[in-house]
Symmetry: C2
Subunit: 111 residues, 2 copies
Amino acid sequence: MWYALFMRKPYVVSINDIRLTSVLHALSDPRRLQIVMSLKGNAEQNCAIYHDMMPKSTLTHHLKVLREAGVAKVRIEGTQHFYSLRTEDLEQLFPGLLTAILNVQSELISH
Amino acid sequence: MWYALFMRKPYVVSINDIRLTSVLHALSDPRRLQIVMSLKGNAEQNCAIYHDMMPKSTLTHHLKVLREAGVAKVRIEGTQHFYSLRTEDLEQLFPGLLTAILNVQSELISH
DNA sequence: GTCAATGTTCTAGTTTTTTAGTATGAATGA
DNA sequence: TCATTCATACTAAAAAACTAGAACATTGAC
């Protein structure tokens, strides 16, 4: 379609629209938090590594929540999507928050 | 007083049962986060100050979520309930987390 | 063009959460 | 005892979130 050129880049939430409640909500789901933990240390992950965690459509949903909250961003390369955390943006808005969360021991994450 | 022994103590979540996802979920609601912010700096607040924010039963619900997640605790004095944050427990489990959240500027909290 | 690989969108069913009215309980003072 | 205050419990309805199957879209290789 004619607008395909504009859709190649996924919508990214402006740093000015990131809000704490949305970020906390995005991080409050065990599966999303697991995804976020896997992106620790500026890691970039392809969706494929999560496919044993959940069905594709469920994964897409969770990644969308993370993107729309401003927690994660995606880089598209061919047919593959590579996800990473918006570490700098989050640090700027909420100093120390992401670090504190990423440092939590796995036993304390969820029941 | 002798009958103090029979006084109902509110259920308190053991520190061993506090989980990050539950804490983040509790903090992800704008009204609950507003309550938490009002408890900053070891403040202790009586429920009454929140009564212009929402109906009593709604307030009770939100306070219960905060208590059950291990974010807040309550001290009962007569008919009044005084709420405060479990600052030390949270700092022990999730170093830096609560501080990071309490330091967020109000404009960045919610839409 | 056709095909396979990779993800998204659409949709619906289920579960969880939020809200708030009403009823109930516990403590206090007259 | 009785009324009052303060807060929780119960209940039901509405809203939001989660899950996942099926269809669709995009890319790259042949």
